[in-house]
Subunit: 120 residues, 2 copies
Amino acid sequence: MSDQPKAPVTPVPAHEPPYYAAVFTTVRTQEQDGYRETNARMEELVKDIPGYLGMDHAQTPGGLGITVGYFRDADALAEWRSHTEHRMAQRRGRDEWYRNYTLHVAKVERSHTFVRPPEN
Amino acid sequence: MSDQPKAPVTPVPAHEPPYYAAVFTTVRTQEQDGYRETNARMEELVKDIPGYLGMDHAQTPGGLGITVGYFRDADALAEWRSHTEHRMAQRRGRDEWYRNYTLHVAKVERSHTFVRPPEN
């Protein structure tokens, strides 16, 4: 059981501001039944939200997890937030999977991406 | 050599909005000489910036790293951004440590923290 994505990793690039970022930081419990399946299902569902721009995830083994979802505007984020199946997953997260979490909802004002030039 | 923090992890809690979040997503190169020392030094230096609220970090082994720095306002973030030693570290990151990265600077509009009730 591993949370590691397959390399190479492609983080979400800078988009034209303004857009929204939902920063979700989590510490998990020992109770992880169904977590992976639900997480995979959410990753599929969110793609259907109009204005969804992408998602970054990093997980320190045994430590902090950070997921950042990017959305074109507040309406897109609100639609995802209130999605029925997503709400059920949120509840299960509080009941079972998360020891604690924080959600920061933020409007991106500027952003940039650096890509290393190819080595010769 | 491990990037794992010691447990228990204490993520940065929700603060009273508005505040700023700088979301920094990174994929690293094979060239990591000096990275850990510089990173530790930056973690110390940033604490001296007035308005610094804290930092969250997660690192998937061999994959994506996400660091989120939280600041009370844009001025605090600007001061950190232009800090001389930090600027030197930024340059070294582009020259050596990062294959790519994206920085999203965002104003937090709302946030909340969930803490699991103690088990009986």
